[in-house]
Symmetry: C2
Subunit: 183 residues, 2 copies
DNA sequence: AAACAAAGTCAACAGTCGTTGACAAAAATA
DNA sequence: TATTTTTGTCAACGACTGTTGACTTTGTTT
């Protein structure tokens, strides 16, 4: 591995930790380069600028695992995705934490919304099928992100200390209702 | 009304519109004073600074109306609070929009979390009673904020265009499951 | 070894940020 | 009317922002 590559990787790693938890606008280039132990000018040289570095942290995101599951396992896997233990360290690489932290960002919000719509809501809509599939998919995502929001952002007591298994069961109960066909 | 008061009110009104929708860190003092047609120096004079102006926008928030309702009407009123039409103009004075926009803010996030915990989660926990009241209250809030997040922040198709009545009914269905005693 | 390209360092840029203090205009008080 | 207090204006401050270009150092190629 060349020296340049390891520097790029150090930058992406530091950028992901900071961008994904604090949000794009709340992190400065010097915050990242300071954490990575690298000169600030290299961000513009290697990634074309701050925005390019942020996009580099999004490049390697795998597709949402739940969507690759069999239909009858979809809800279980979806709930599992959002029931991970509340661990600040692990959150630094949690895609859903990133989405929550950046959706209100004035510069990156649009990109984040597109990402959720096309990579999560649309495929999920196709998977569950039936009438009102769009709406039922949106309701399931509301439950999933709602629980994540209460745990990681609002840090509500009584939810932040639950075990992943308990939490997954609660999410599945709510998710089943969200996905019910109602006509 | 003295000239000073009307200037203060113009500042608070403009600050609320911007802070509550874009988030504290994403709004500059000059954004606000420009909108209000007022000199930027008056923010520090009248409110002690940017942070004081933000806190002034939180000063007149009434208690959550749903919590004043009778127990059997609580869920209905709670759902109603979050089913308001998706209207960018009305959002400028929507408390829940403000909470979502500012919870990830590095400077104001802590204050917002305290506000939700003490003004919403704790009173709600006391109201619903029963075992696991903390957790059930948190789950209801997850449903409520989850739906609001999908509509106003992620702007998911299939949820942004629903009528308030339909949406309230959906929220109540999910909320009833969230509040169920499960032991 | 010489020539070249790549990688990293450093100082400085133009812009924005929140805030301050000196000053002028207006209003209230005497 | 004269004096004091309040209200508003203006320029500038130090700090921080992302980015740039000139420079030195390191590594590779001829």
């Amino acid at each position: 591995m060349s020296k340049s590559n390891s520097t790029k990787e150090k930058l992406v790693a530091a950028a992901r930790e900071l961008f994904w938890t604090r949000g794009y606008s709340n992190v400065s280039v010097r915050d990242i380069t300071g954490k990575a132990g690298v000169d600030a000018a290299l961000v513009s040289r290697y990634f074309g600028g701050k925005q390019g570095l942020f996009e580099a942290t999004l490049a390697e995101i795998p597709p949402w695992e739940a969507l690759t599951a069999e239909p009858h396992e979809l809800l279980k896997r979806a709930a599992q995705s959002f029931a991970h233990p509340f661990d600040p360290e692990a959150d630094a690489t949690n895609v859903f934490t990133m989405l929550l932290a950046n959706v209100i960002d004035p510069e990156m919000g649009g990109m984040i919304r597109d990402l959720v719509q096309t990579k999560m809501a649309d495929p999920l809509t196709g998977r569950i099928g039936g009438s009102d599939a769009r709406e039922r998919a949106a309701l399931l995502l509301a439950v999933l992100f709602g629980v994540a929001l209460m745990r990681k952002n609002f840090q509500l007591e009584g939810l932040a200390d639950k075990s992943p298994e308990q939490l997954q069961a609660e999410i599945m109960r709510l998710g089943r209702v969200a996905l019910e066909v109602r006509d």
